[in-house]
């Protein structure tokens, strides 16, 4: 007897289909709409092959990942990308690079960890492949400083796709109403924040990502860098937390506390975005990859009231309060797949067409692509990238930063004085350097 499908079964199938459809592109905020149609040509491997891509999901990374997956998948080659957040990517990068065989064949990576993985030969130098395929993908148009950020000891270990730097987003309507100009120094920032607070419109006008378990270390590094001091004196091989600027950086950051939510040490970047979406904050400073979300109508009723500027310098005449982070694609040394095939996939995803399609969600690594016309924060980003403190491309930089992070959080919350904190940080960081 043939049974007709019951209503319940039809409902179950309907719900299942809806779940599957909503699951497609899960984790990708931009989904396929930013995936450019670009050629991705490579020599067929001769048998069914799976290429596993590790890349965290964010508005700025997704366009490149989506382009790679959408264009390089063929009948024979399956390019697979599973959604993952940044912390997950960090963890999986460590595990996949640990053994003789890894899970992933293409890795999203960033300047901060390239020296460590390059020195331990866990990722491949790409110089020969860049020479071979550079013309095909116009790689000579990549920003030299971003290629430099992907290099270690003269070799290039990743093809840069995009850069992120701090940008200041602010409520233009509030600034206009109160006759304020975007601040260019922390002094001006305090002044502007005070005026907004005094106007009674905002209790806490400023929002910074200062999550105690991650972002706060970047914030401190940015303040220190703005004062012209690196985390480490690389020539002397000693930390710089015994310098007066190390204490000054704390004092400057803490001076902003009265204008921020008392729970700001729980704010990661999405939470700062949420403050801007809700209209709980009038000024925020965070990475450029978060900026385009602020002007999306679907995210916030205030989408059309947001303007952008380069972040202020901590003191007048200094570098801006910022950190330059360059993301790129690298090939793990333990992949069993053909390096030429993998490089062609990478090359196609950072081609000019693909990079243009990534604007304004991202700030692509190609020179001169981002303008005030094609990106709402383009002018601010171009200013910010010119004036950000220089990166510290050394294998121990990330380890030092991670090791001192809990102390930074304790100083910011007042559990330690800046003097006590910097003394502890000097000892902790020296241990890290000695172990290196």
């Amino acid at each position: 007897m043939i049974r007709r499908p019951s209503k319940k079964a039809a409902l179950a199938v309907g719900i299942g289909a809806a779940l599957l459809l909503s699951g497609c592109g899960a984790g990708s905020r931009t989904q396929d709409k930013n995936a450019a149609e670009v050629p991705c040509e490579f020599e067929a491997p001769g048998s069914a092959t799976t290429v596993n891509v590790l890349a965290y999901n964010s508005s700025a990374i997704d366009p490149f990942t989506n382009t790679l997956v959408a264009n390089c998948t063929t009948d024979e080659v399956d390019v697979v990308h599973e959604p993952v957040d940044f912390a997950g990517q960090v963890q999986r990068t460590t595990t996949t690079l640990a053994g003789a065989e890894g899970t992933y064949d293409i890795l999203e990576t960033y300047g901060y960890i390239i020296p460590e993985n390059a020195e331990s030969e866990k990722i491949l130098p790409l110089n020969d492949l860049i020479d071979k395929y550079g013309d095909t993908y116009g790689l000579d148009e990549l920003s030299p400083s971003m290629v430099e950020a992907m290099s270690y000891n003269g070799d290039v270990y990743a093809v840069p796709m995009q850069a992120q730097m701090y940008i200041m987003a602010y409520r233009k309507d509030i600034f206009d109403e109160l006759g304020l100009e975007p601040p260019t120094t922390f002094d001006e920032l305090r002044d502007v924040a005070q005026k907004i607070q005094d106007s009674g419109e905002y209790q806490y006008p400023l929002a910074l990502p200062l999550l105690a378990s991650s972002d706060i270390a970047t914030a401190y590094d940015s303040a220190l860098g703005s004062l012209g001091v690196d985390l480490v004196d690389h020539e002397a091989g000693k930390p710089n937390f015994d310098q007066p600027e190390a204490i000054q950086a704390f004092e400057e950051l803490k001076s902003l506390a009265p204008y921020m939510d008392p729970q700001v040490t729980t704010f990661d970047q999405p939470k700062v975005q949420q403050q801007m979406y809700n209209g709980d904050a009038a000024i925020s400073i965070m990475f450029s990859g978060r900026m385009n979300d602020l002007v999306q109508e679907s995210n916030s009723p205030n989408f059309d009231k947001i303007a952008f500027a380069a972040p202020p310098a901590v003191v007048e005449g200094g570098k801006q309060y910022s950190t330059l982070s360059v993301d790129g694609w690298s090939i793990p040394a333990n992949t069993s797949l053909d390096e030429d095939m993998l490089f062609n996939m990478i090359g196609s995803s950072v081609s000019e067409k693909a990079s243009l399609a990534a604007i304004p969600a991202a700030y692509p690594a190609r020179q001169g692509l981002v303008t005030a016309e094609n990106s709402p924060y383009g002018a601010a980003a171009n200013d910010a990238i010119e004036n950000a403190p220089a990166a510290e491309p050394f294998p121990y930089t990330a380890k030092v930063s991670n090791a001192v992070r809990p102390v930074i959080a304790e100083v910011f919350t007042g559990a330690l004085t800046p003097e006590e904190g910097t003394a502890q940080m000097q000892t902790i960081a020296q241990k890290v350097l000695d172990a290196e």
Partner: protein
């Protein structure tokens, strides 16, 4: 049952136990004595990792917090679970509907439930609890950064998630108590409290012990609830043992597998110490049955 049939039936369980229990426990103990990274055999370091863990004040603090949290949650879950079970047991036709609603918090994944729970206290996402508190006081409660408010919020979330389990088990126990005994107690003049304390509760003490055992094991391992609920756990002393393990061993791509293994071994020991009274009780009951 023949000997051969017995072994055919029991062998799959032995393989599963061996693969999923004994090998990991053996490997955990082995790694606790080694300095070991992913993909490496590791080097023997004796008790160095144990010394490192036991001399870290953060570990001591996380043990105290976790044990305190476990005992508090266990008491609340059993008391409220019992009260709920009694109420639900007295329901008529509405019982399945009420049961279904109560069970929702138990079937939601911890991290999802905890995230939604955090929104109740987070002004960024409405903060309903803050609004209600605001009706009575002007004082802003800093749920995520102040130690005790954060502890209360974390505890409430775990109770919210575990209460249905406790209620369900105790309800099953209540339904197994012979009505004749309760009627007899009534005739003998026992009041409501007396019947619960002297007749019903002693009759279901095995079930209460079971709820206690499961609650202890679950709360001692609490990790994912804290990701949305306690972003400042390290700063405000609300780091559980499992979160401490993650922070020390794996955060930022760390590879401290030796130290992580030590904390796991110590956690198993703490768990055993806390479970001994309940296990002894259960064994006594099994012997007397």
């Amino acid at each position: 049952m023949r000997r051969r049939e017995y072994w055919i039936l029991i062998l799959p369980s032995i393989f599963v136990m061996f693969g999923l229990l004994l090998i990991p426990i053996y490997r955990t103990i082995e790694w606790s004595l080694k300095d070991v990274n992913y993909g490496e055999a590791g080097t023997f370091v004796g008790l160095d990792n144990y010394v490192r863990a036991l001399t870290d004040p953060r570990f001591g603090s996380s043990v105290l917090f976790t044990v305190g949290l476990t005992l508090s949650v266990m008491v609340v879950v059993i008391v409220l679970g019992y009260i709920l079970a009694v109420l639900v047991n007295n329901l008529g036709k509405m019982r399945p509907l009420v049961l279904g609603i109560i069970l929702i918090s138990y079937v939601i994944p911890n991290v999802v439930g905890a995230t939604m729970f955090s929104w109740l206290f987070d002004g960024n996402f409405g903060g309903v609890a803050n609004v209600v508190i605001g009706w009575f006081t002007d004082h802003d409660v800093l749920w995520f950064t102040e130690t005790w408010p954060n502890r209360i919020m974390v505890g409430l979330n775990i109770v919210w998630a575990m209460l249905p389990f406790s209620m369900l088990i105790l309800l099953a126990g209540l339904q197994g108590v012979p009505r004749e005994i309760i009627e007899a107690a009534k005739i003998d003049g026992a009041g409501t409290m007396g019947r619960h304390l002297h007749i019903i509760l002693p009759s279901i003490r095995g079930m209460v012990g079971f709820v206690a055992i499961i609650t202890i094991m679950d709360v001692l391992r609490v990790f994912d609830n804290l990701i949305p609920l306690a972003p400042n756990a390290v700063l405000n002393g609300n780091e559980t043992i499992a979160l401490y393990t993650y922070n020390m061993a794996f955060q930022d791509g760390g590879q401290e597998l030796g130290l992580g293994s030590v904390i796991n071994v110590l956690t198993i020991l703490i768990m055993l110490v806390m479970l001994i009274p309940f296990i002894r009780n259960t064994m006594k009951e099994a012997k007397s049955a």
